[in-house]
């Protein structure tokens, strides 16, 4: 059953590539993409610097103020039913779709709450070693 890659005939590959068509983008496409990326990177850098200085103080404050209540819900238990499962991922997916997600739901830690966080939460829920992040 171990079929080699060479099962694809030589003539078929270029034919499929030609069918796929060339990449044609408008003038300024790259400039726009790279400018957006630069902006995002700058914003992220600012957030990281601001976040680093705030994190220590906030972490201490959180530990003191809400630490005793931490056991109420595991990270990822968005509906507060005591379990991290696919229903929590559904809650997050709907919030992302409706742009109502909370910042604290950034489970990937990439600064954004998006489908990647839904995937992270869902994959955590189906982990064989126990649900959770």
């Amino acid at each position: 059953m171990d079929r080699p890659d060479s099962d694809i005939p030589d003539g078929l590959k270029p034919a499929l590539r030609r069918l796929d068509g060339p990449v044609a983008v408008w003038p300024g496409f790259d400039a726009r993409g790279l400018a957006t990326a630069r902006l995002a990177a700058a914003r992220r850098r600012r957030m990281l610097i601001r976040g680093a200085s705030l994190a220590a103080a906030a972490g201490l404050a959180l530990a003191v103020i809400i630490g005793p209540w931490r056991e109420r819900g595991a990270r990822g238990d968005l509906n507060g039913d005591g379990a991290v499962d696919m229903v929590d991922a559904l809650v997050l997916a709907r919030a992302v779709d409706e742009s109502k997600a909370q910042r604290s739901w950034d489970f990937t830690g990439d600064g954004a709450v998006d489908r990647a966080d839904v995937d992270r939460l869902a994959l955590g829920a189906v982990r064989l070693s126990g649900g959770g992040l």
Binding site: N79, A83, L90, A125
Partner: protein, 170 residues
């Protein structure tokens, strides 16, 4: 019909012994979906369809599937029939080559586009090595409607004819 004939019994035993040792082909091999012959002496493949019958539109589910008997290894998992669940579900890749997996999927489609009756949500492909016939069990961990509220549902499964060598017909 019920007469015991020692000669016939001995011959039968010999044939069975020979078959067990691979001296006779038994069934002459099974033709896999890939068109190649899969030896009866080697492992065989089976797929198990998982069905959920919800009491309302099904927006999310999570279930556990395992083989409780037999030398079974999970080799592949794919989605189901309904457009909301055709994509492969979430599962732990570590479940591959094991006999247990937790599967889950969700859909943010509106209620009208979600399955509200019995639906095949996933198919699990397994490799069965020599040994006793496999036995499976599956249980629902949670099911929810579009508003992310838990709903009642039933889970059933049906083993189907082998797909192919670790593969599927998709």
């Amino acid at each position: 019909m019920n007469r015991h004939r020692p000669g016939l019994l001995a011959a039968l035993l010999l044939v069975l012994l020979a078959a067990a040792m691979g001296l006779v082909p038994g069934r002459a091999g099974r033709r896999g979906a890939m068109g190649d012959e899969v030896s009866q002496a080697g492992p065989r493949f089976e797929a198990i369809d998982l069905f959920i019958t919800p009491t309302g539109p099904l927006a999310a589910y999570q279930l556990e599937f395992r083989a409780r008997a037999g030398q079974v290894k999970i080799v592949g998992i794919e989605g189901g029939d309904h457009p909301a669940y055709t994509q492969p579900p979430y599962y732990d890749p570590a479940a591959m080559q094991q006999d247990r997996v937790i599967i889950g999927a969700l859909s943010t489609k509106p209620a009208g586009e979600l399955p509200a009756a019995r639906v095949r949500v996933a198919r699990v492909h397994v490799m069965i090595e020599a040994g006793p016939a496999p036995e499976y069990e599956a249980r629902l961990q949670t099911t929810a409607g579009p508003e992310a509220r838990t709903i009642e549902a039933n889970l059933t499964f049906e083993p189907i004819r082998a797909a192919a060598d670790g593969g599927d017909p998709q």
